[in-house]
Every structure is written in C-alpha cells, then in structure tokens.
C-alpha cells in the first residue's frame, strides 16, 4: 500500500511541472499571421460548383436509373425476341403448311371448275282445240269417232306436262378433249340424249374437232339450235319427220376452215348408224351394212351495215332397213252413210285396207337441205333486231304403197330387194320471222309446210296428208334464266284419194283444220 502511494505522489509532481510548460508553448505561437486557403468568392464559387455537380450527379444518377430500367426492358425484350423468333418460325411453318393446303385445294377447285353443268326445264300447259275431224294429237290411238258425241267427246284436251327437262355435264380437262353427257327427263321417262367425247387437234390454229359417240346429226340449221333458244316451241314438221330425235350414234368432224374478220366457213362430215335415238326396234345397232354419211357446209358473212347473212347446205346419204311385215287388215276410216259426221255402228260401215305380207328390205334414204338466215338490227324504239329464216328439205324414203278401194283393198307392194322400189320423194320447208320488240319481248311467226309424197300420184297413199302449220309465239324474258312463251299452232291437213275420215271425196285437196294447239310454257335455263 505504501508502495502505491509513493507512485501516486511521483505522478502528481510530474503533472505539476508539465502543465506550465505546455501553456508557455501556446503563448509563444499566438503572434504568428495565418494565411486563408480560399477567398469568400472562391468559396462561394466552389459552393456553387458543388451545387451544380450535385445537380448533375443527381441527373446522372437518374440517367443511370433510367438506363438500368431500359437495360432491364432490353433484356426482357431480348428474351421476348427470342420467343418471337421462335413464334415467327412456327408461323412460317404454319404458313408453308397453309400454302400447301391452298395449292392442294386450288388444284381440287380447278378440277371442279372444269366440270360445267347446264340445263333447262320446260313446264307447259297445253290446250287442244276440239277437232272437226281426225284423231287426237295427244293420243292418236283414240279415233275421233269413239263415243257418241264425236269430236267434242275427246278426252285429254288440256294437260300440264314437262316437255323437256334437260341436264348436261361437260368436263373440259384441257383444250384438247372434252367429255359430254346429256339427259332428258320429260313427260314420264328419262332418256340419254347425248354422250360423246370431243377431241380438238392442237397442231393447227383451226381447232378441228372430232365428236365420237351419240350426238346431233350435223344437218341443217334447226338441228344445231337448242330447243332452249328456239323462238317457237317445236321444230318444223319436215325436220321432226326426217330427223326424229335429232341425234344418232357415230362420229362428227367439224372443220372451221375460215374465221377471218367476221367471215366464217365451217365444214362438217360425219358417219352414223342412221337409226337415230328414237327407233324402237334398233335401239342402238345399225341393221344395215353401210354407215350413213352426212356433210354440211356453213357460211357466215361479215356484218354489212345493219344486216348479217348466214347460209348453209347439207346432204345425208344412207340406207334404211324396212322390217318384214305380216299380212293384216287395218281400219282406215268409216263410210258415213247417214252423213251425220260421226260413226254410227248400226248404220255406217268401217273401211279397211289389206296389208299383204312383205319381206324385210333395204331401201334408199336420202336428205338434202338448204338454209338461209338474214339477221337485221334496226335503230327503232319499237323493234331492235330480228331475223328472217328459211330452211328447205327434200328427201327420199321408203313408203308402203297401197291401191285402195272401199272395203277390202289390194296390196301392190313389190316383193324383192330393189332398194329404190317404194322410195318416194318428200319435201318441206319453213319460213320464220322473229323480231325483238325490246330487250324483254320477242315475237315470232312461222309458216311450215310438209308434203310426205311429192311426186307419186299414181298410187293412192294412205299417209299422203300434206300439212301446213301456222305458228305464232310471244316470248317474254322474265330474267336472264326464265322465258315465258305463249304460243298458238294451227295445223291444216289435206287428204287425197285416201280413206281417212270423214271418208268423203269432197275433202280431196281441201285443207282440213285439226289439232290446233295453244300453249303456255315457262322455261328455266341455267
């Protein structure tokens, strides 16, 4: 304890001497001049600079912050871009897939577009005038004298029916070939109208084409015109007798020889079976050894002012097979003993003809034709355009000849195979005027003449009834598809040295009014 106290005393003594020395040193330094480091101005400037720097620094800091944000955004975008590129690649893949699909679909659509479908329907209401004589045109099997009231008792004087219901399929794979099939659904049956292959040669600029199959006989103007565009409802009598059905099986070569500045010349040549499509016995075969040949030339002249002229000529050369017939009696009329113009079984007697048996034979079949069409265009408000049309036919066909008497008749048909025996000349023509009154309304008038035996008077012929027909028609074009037709057709017949009703010589060479027909037809065509 004594030792610690000693050390404390010594420390206090040292402190007592050290304190006055430090104070003396402080008093020695006090008189020195202190030089200032900055002036006030400099200080203020420096302060201002510091403030500025501080502001700048703040801005830079903000800038850095913004840059950081942008950097983050860029990083995010880069990430998105990577994803987008992937999406683009996916989309490109999908696009290529769609393009492939498109080309496939387009190829399919192009194939479908090569198939053309067209057709028309003619729905008709027909009213037949009561005949003074003769048989019903609708049902020729019903003689007019059936029943007790004569002509007025005829049934089926008016009918609704489908005259034509056509549909046509045409597939044109390329300009060199075509497929056509054409059906008709009318009245109560469906039938094949046309079925052919059309080949067009690629070597010349003439587009020569060959039709092979069932198609139109290339004869005349009426046949080549569709029933859907004809101005009167039915074809002429001559055409319907000489070319029933208008079609046959064979080949038809069309050569457009000239087509220059409105001048056209077209030649046709064909070989056909000759039986047509309405032969009930030979529905598709040719019973003759030879084919029938047809040639046609048609000229279309350039438009001359308001006129335009076309004309053509046609020839048909072939054979017809006449089947064998058994001997038979045919009722041809009656003797109107009491002159009351109707058949009274108690008083009147029937007239017959005897048809002797005949062997089958081959007979000449020939047709010649000429046609002219004059088209005109008139700048008149009530008549815009129209046409005058003429077509004439002269033909040779086999006809059974009978010498007739009252009662039993004697057949004079020659036996044998002379192909010209029994062949007679036939002739017919029509002349038609058509006028477009405006773009909707069209008027047509036709005179039509047919003589089934124009040069044989020596033998009586039971079917030698010449026929002339007056037809008037008014066509109204409802729209581009629909045509409404009102038509009146008035045929007149002659009977020459025959036994058809009314069985009176007073009717020889007189025109007899029968079977006048009025029609209203609506046609839809597409």
């Amino acid at each position: 304890m004594k030792k610690e106290l000693n050390w404390l005393v010594i420390g206090l003594v040292v402190l007592a001497f050290a304190a006055p020395n430090a104070d003396a040193q402080r008093r020695k330094k006090k008189p020195q001049v202190v030089q200032p480091v900055l002036t006030i101005e400099e200080f203020n400037q420096l302060k201002a600079q510091v403030g500025t720097l501080s502001t700048q620094s703040e801005a830079q800091r903000q800038e850095i912050t913004d840059l950081k944000v942008k950097l983050n955004e860029a990083a995010a975008m880069a990430a998105e871009k990577g994803a987008s590129e992937e999406k683009i690649q996916n989309l490109e893949g999908k696009f290529e897939g769609l393009e492939t699909d498109y080309l496939t679909t387009k190829g399919d659509v192009d194939k479908v577009k090569k198939l053309a479908v067209s057709g028309y329907i003619q729905a008709r209401y027909e009213w037949q005038w009561p005949s003074r004589t003769g048989t019903s045109a609708i049902n020729p099997a019903l003689p007019w004298y059936t029943g007790t009231q004569g002509p007025s008792s005829q049934t089926n004087q008016d009918n609704f029916y489908i005259r034509r219901g056509r549909i046509k399929f045409t597939y044109t794979a390329n300009p060199m070939s075509k497929y056509v099939i054409y059906f008709d659904a009318s009245k109560d049956a469906v039938s094949l109208k046309e079925a052919y292959v059309e080949l067009t040669e690629p070597w010349t600029k003439h587009n020569v084409s060959l039709w092979i199959g069932q198609n139109n006989w290339p004869f005349g103007f009426e046949i080549e015109r569709s029933s859907s565009v004809r101005e009167v409802l039915e074809r002429s009598k001559a055409e319907s007798v000489l070319f029933p059905g208008e079609r046959d099986r064979g080949v038809n070569l069309t050569i457009p020889l000239v087509d220059y500045k409105g001048f056209k010349f077209t030649a046709n040549g064909g070989a056909f079976n000759g039986t047509g499509i309405q032969d009930n016995i030979f529905t598709w075969q040719d019973p003759t050894r030879r084919k029938d040949f047809i040639g046609r030339g048609k000229v279309q002249l350039p438009t001359f002012g308001l006129l335009h002229l076309d004309f053509g000529t046609s020839g048909y050369f072939g054979d017809a097979y006449i089947p064998a017939t058994a001997a038979a009696y045919q009722i041809t009329g009656f003797k109107d003993v009491n002159k009351n113009n109707k058949y009274d079984p108690a008083v009147d007697s029937l007239a017959y003809r005897y048809v002797a048996a005949s062997p089958a034979l081959i007979a000449t079949k020939q047709r010649l034709g000429g046609d002219v069409q004059l088209y005109y265009s008139l700048p008149l408000p009530f008549m815009k355009s129209g046409a005058l049309m003429f077509e004439g036919y002269r033909a040779k066909d086999y006809k059974a000849k009978y010498a007739t008497q009252y009662g039993i008749v004697t057949d004079t048909l020659a036996k044998g195979i002379n192909k010209d025996y029994g062949v007679v000349n036939e002739q017919g023509f029509y002349v038609m005027w058509v006028a477009n009154l405006n773009s909707k309304l069209q008027f047509a008038a036709r005179y039509d003449y047919w003589d089934p035996v124009s040069d044989a008077d020596t033998l009586a012929l039971t079917d030698k009834a010449r026929q002339k027909t007056y037809t008037g028609a008014l066509n109204y074009f409802w729209d581009s598809n629909v045509r409404i037709t009102a038509s009146l057709s008035a045929p007149f017949f002659t009977h020459k040295k025959d036994l058809m009703p009314p069985f009176s010589s007073s009717y020889n060479n007189n025109w007899d009014s029968r079977n006048h027909v009025a029609d209203i037809q609506v046609q839809y065509k597409f």
Binding site: N174, T303, K384, V434, S439, L441, Y476, F477, I520
Partner: protein
C-alpha cells in the same frame, strides 16, 4: 282466245315497264374504275339517268350481255367467235363493238424488287412456272410469288393468248378476284409479280417490257402505247347488242367525246384517238 289476248297484253305491259332510263354496265374489272367515273360524270349532267356499273370480269359481262342482263358490257378483250354466235342466237346480232380506251397491260412488281425489265419470254416463263426464282432474272435469290386473275377476267385471257401463247398458267399462280387485289398483294409482297391495267399501278413498280432480249424496254405510258412501242397494248371495249339508240346512244357519244375521253386520261388509261 280472250284469255290469250289478256295474257299477251299483260306480257306487253311488263315489257314496257322495263324501259325506264336506267342503264346497266357490267364486265371488266380493269375498266371498273373508268366505268364508274364515266357514270358519275354523266349522271351529274343527266340527273334523270341512273347508271349502275359493276365488275366481275369481261367474261361475266359478255355472258350478261348474251343473257340480256346488262345494257352495256365492258370488256378488256374482244368477244370470241362462239360468244358472238350465242349473242346471235338470242338477239340476232353479233354485237356492236365500240373501242372506248386504250391500255397497256402492266406487270406490277414490288417497289423494293431490284428487277426493272422483263422480256415477253421471261414473263411467259414466270407465268407458266418455268422460271421460279428472281435470281434467274437478275434479282435476289428468292422465290417468285405469282399473282394472276380468275379465268372470267379479260386480262387473264389477253395474257394467256398474247403472252403465254395459249399455254396454261402455272398451278402455283395465286388467282385474285380483281386488279385492285393484285396490286395490293404485290405492294405487300417484295417478291410478288402481278398484272392488270395501267391505271391501277399505284404503290407498285411498273416493269419495263421488252419484246425480246435485244430490244429496249418500255413502260406502259400513253406515248409508248400510242406509238406501239409497248409490246402488250390493247383496246378496251364497250359492247352493246344492237346499234345504240336513245339514252344508250347519248351515253356512248359522250364517252367518245373529248369530255368522256378526258376522264380516260384522268383514270390512267389512254384515249382512243
């Protein structure tokens, strides 16, 4: 007979009602703009007349003329012989052909496409699919995207007959329903090529067409078309069934007058005289 008379009179009245001053114009898409401008101007001067102009293509217009569905058909190609026969079947005339303007069939390229000239053979090769890459024609290494029109278009037929020489278009040709659609597609497609009337060439480049490799290339300008230097120039037509009468005649006369022909120039085609 009375019934028949009444029916005939009724049909006559119906027909008469169709004779108002209304004119329908239908056909070529190439001529659609032109037809519309003519109609607008004519109707301004003739407020009592209504003119309805629609497109669809020359083939559609000609069919409408044959069917009686239009008064005037616009066509960028002449009527074919078979079409005239069909018209004759119904109206007994082969139609009256009225050239109303001239045009250079124009081939459009995208403005970014470096190719500037093509020969007729090169165009044929593109459209028949023989040439499929722009590199073969001095351009970039990229597939050619071929745009064309539908077969009802007169320009389709004109190009097929006069440039492709009857050959079929390449199956890869993308068919579009109007010239405007073709131009729009080419404007958006750097490697596209299309064709149509000169008046539609907005936002696309008109390629200079050379008759052959040794010839100079020409653009479808009025001077080049009139001087027959541009190798694919053509007439644009109006067709009517018969010699025009009444309001249709007045319209046709006006279209061929200086006033009507000035609209041809404004639209982008070239006057007939």
């Amino acid at each position: 007979m009375k019934k028949m008379t009444i029916i005939l009179l009724a049909l006559g009245l119906l027909a008469g009602s169709a004779m108002a001053k209304r004119i329908t114009v239908k056909g070529s898409d190439t001529m659609l703009l032109l037809g519309q401008r003519w109609a607008e101007e004519y109707m301004k001067a003739h407020p009592d007349v209504t003119i309805q102009v629609t497109g669809g293509g020359s083939g559609v217009g000609i069919s409408a003329l044959i069917n009686g569905a239009t008064d005037i058909c616009e066509a960028s190609r002449p009527m074919s012989s078979s079409e005239k026969d069909k018209l004759k079947d119904r109206f007994f005339t082969t139609g009256v052909e009225i050239p109303v303007a001239k045009d250079g069939v124009t081939f459009y390229l995208n403005e970014a496409n470096p190719v500037a000239e093509l020969t007729l053979d090169q165009i044929k090769d593109i459209y028949t699919g023989k040439v499929t890459n722009w590199k073969q024609l001095g351009g970039e290494d990229a597939k050619i995207v071929v745009y064309g029109r539908e077969n009802s278009s007169g320009t389709y037929v004109f190009v097929k007959d006069n440039i492709l020489k009857g050959a079929d278009y390449s199956p890869g040709t993308q068919t579009l329903p109007g010239t405007a659609a073709v131009v729009n597609a080419v404007a958006k497609d750097k490697y596209g090529i299309g064709y149509g009337g000169a008046a539609y060439a907005k936002g696309v480049k008109q390629v200079k067409v050379k008759k052959d490799a040794g010839s100079l290339g020409y653009e479808p300008t009025e001077a080049n078309v009139k001087a027959k230097l541009y190798p694919v120039s053509r007439d644009l037509y109006w067709y009517v069934k018969e010699s025009p009468t009444g309001e249709i005649k007045r319209l046709v006369d006006w279209v061929l007058s200086p006033a009507g022909q000035s609209i041809v120039t404004k639209v982008g085609y070239f006057p007939v005289k």
